[in-house]
Each structure stands twice: as structure tokens, then as C-alpha cells.
């Protein structure tokens, strides 16, 4: 399975704090990780008022086993629009 998000894609994110406190499983978020920088991941599970465990859409992608719990304060926004880079495959 190919990754959902590929290099060259654009995303529009919602940064409004209210919505960041109402994130749920399967939401796609952009967050900052102290080791890996800015990442886009899917929320696997929510720890209310604390943070999130995440995974990627690629089977080899970094997930929470390496990233740890993502605190709410690290979340930059929720992806609300994904603009894919055109490809001959489409």
C-alpha cells in the first residue's frame, strides 16, 4: 500500500485551539516532535486531556512505539484539506 501523503502534497490545517481539544480517532494531525520535527500522522487513540497515540498510513511509517505519546500542546492543527501532487498514475 502506498503512503496516503506523498512528498510534494499540500495540506490545509485547522489551528483553532477549540478544535484541537476535540480531536478524535482517525483525525489526521500535524504536530511537532522534539526528535523528528513536524510530522503528519493519524490519531490511533485519544488520552482525554493528555494527548494522542498516532500511526502513519504507510506500514513502515513511524508510529507511537517510537514517537511516544503526543501531547495536545504539540499539535499544530488538524488536516482539513489534502491537495495531492498530480501523478501519471491518476
Amino acid at each position: 500500500m502506498l503512503p496516503e501523503y506523498k512528498e510534494g502534497d499540500f495540506v490545509i490545517i485547522n489551528e483553532i485551539a477549540f478544535f484541537l481539544h476535540h480531536l478524535k480517532k482517525d483525525d489526521v494531525i500535524v504536530f511537532h516532535h522534539p526528535t523528528y520535527g513536524f510530522l503528519i500522522k493519524i490519531i490511533d487513540s485519544v488520552l482525554p486531556e493528555v494527548g494522542f497515540f498516532v500511526s502513519g498510513s504507510h506500514k513502515n511509517s513511524l508510529d507511537s512505539s517510537k514517537l511516544g505519546l503526543i501531547p495536545i500542546s504539540a499539535v499544530i492543527g488538524r488536516v482539513i484539506w489534502h491537495i495531492r501532487k498530480p501523478s501519471l498514475r491518476q
Binding site: 506523498k6 500535524v30 520535527g37 498510513s57 513511524l62 495531492r84 498530480p86 501523478s87
Partner: protein, 163 residues
């Protein structure tokens, strides 16, 4: 169309970037695992063709060896396809390498044919297509290549970086 608009805006305003699906976010890519996997496919095809005892269907040794060769062939054809997909999806930029899509599609089809059949010609074409991919990859890195026979069976000509 929309992507073009955002690309133009990106050039002007330099949007922030986020990594989405990095295997490891350090840019380590190399076609060598795909080349070795493709070579393994041809090796398995050769072992399958050379296996004795096929006429005697009761020989469990024959069936055991044949099933192992087929299993390894399957596994490595898929591994080669996977490695190529990762480099293609994560590394190559379409605007700089417009012909890679067609080559990757050919590699995917050849890999599938290697799984579906015992056709050595398909195996050779699979190796050569991945060599072609490796040559393009190293060119993007500014690394010269050399062609040399692999120092192990089936001793096919491979593309290596001339480091």
C-alpha cells in the same frame, strides 16, 4: 490545477513542511536491496529449473525444495517491488524525473509476472528494469555508476555506484 496554485503560493510564501510517511526521516534511500531481491528471483528460477526428481511426484524432497524455491521467489519479487515503491513514492520528484513513473509501472508488472510464472526471461527483464531504475537514482545523486557482473550466481550484470 489547485496543486499548481498552491505550488506558486509555496514558492512565494515558503510554506512550512511536515514529514508524513518517512520510514526514517533522514533521507536514506538505496536501490541495492531491490537489485539483490530481483537477482534472488532469477536464482530461484534457476534452482527450480535445475531441480531433479519432478517426474516422481511422490518424492517429498522434490516437493519440499520446489515449494521453498517458489516461496523465496514470491517473497523477493514482492520485496523488490516494495523497495522500488518506497524510493519512487518518497524520493523521486515528478517534475525532475518525468520518465520514472513509466519505468516503475514496468517494474511492478515484471515483478508480478515473476511471481505468476517460472519465466526466466521475465526474471532477467525484472533485474534489468531495476538496474535502469538504479542508474537513474544514482544519477540524481550525482554518483557515477559502473556495470559489473554480480560475484555470485546467477552472475548477472548489475548497476553499482562507483564510489
Amino acid at each position: 490545477m489547485i496543486h499548481s496554485i498552491f505550488s506558486s503560493l509555496d514558492k512565494k510564501y515558503n510554506f512550512s513542511q511536515a514529514q508524513a510517511h518517512c520510514d526514517v526521516p533522514c533521507g536514506i534511500y538505496d536501490p541495492a536491496p531491490a537489485q539483490i531481491a530481483a537477482l534472488t528471483v532469477v536464482r530461484m528460477l534457476d534452482l527450480m529449473a535445475g531441480l531433479q526428481g519432478g517426474d516422481d511426484k511422490s518424492k517429498s524432497e522434490y516437493h519440499n525444495s520446489m515449494s521453498r524455491y517458489i516461496s523465496v521467489k514470491e517473497e523477493h519479487a514482492e520485496k523488490a517491488k516494495h523497495e522500488i515503491r518506497v524510493i519512487w513514492g518518497d524520493y523521486f520528484k515528478k517534475d525532475k524525473h518525468p520518465n520514472v513513473d513509466e519505468l516503475v509501472q514496468r517494474i511492478m508488472q515484471l515483478g508480478s509476472k515473476c511471481r505468476q510464472t517460472a519465466d526466466r526471461e521475465a526474471g532477467l527483464a525484472f533485474v534489468e528494469a531495476i538496474n535502469e531504475f538504479a542508474a537513474i537514482f544514482w544519477e540524481t545523486k550525482g554518483v557515477a555508476i559502473k556495470r559489473a557482473k554480480a560475484p555470485y550466481a546467477p552472475s548477472l550484470e548489475m548497476v553499482y555506484p562507483n564510489l
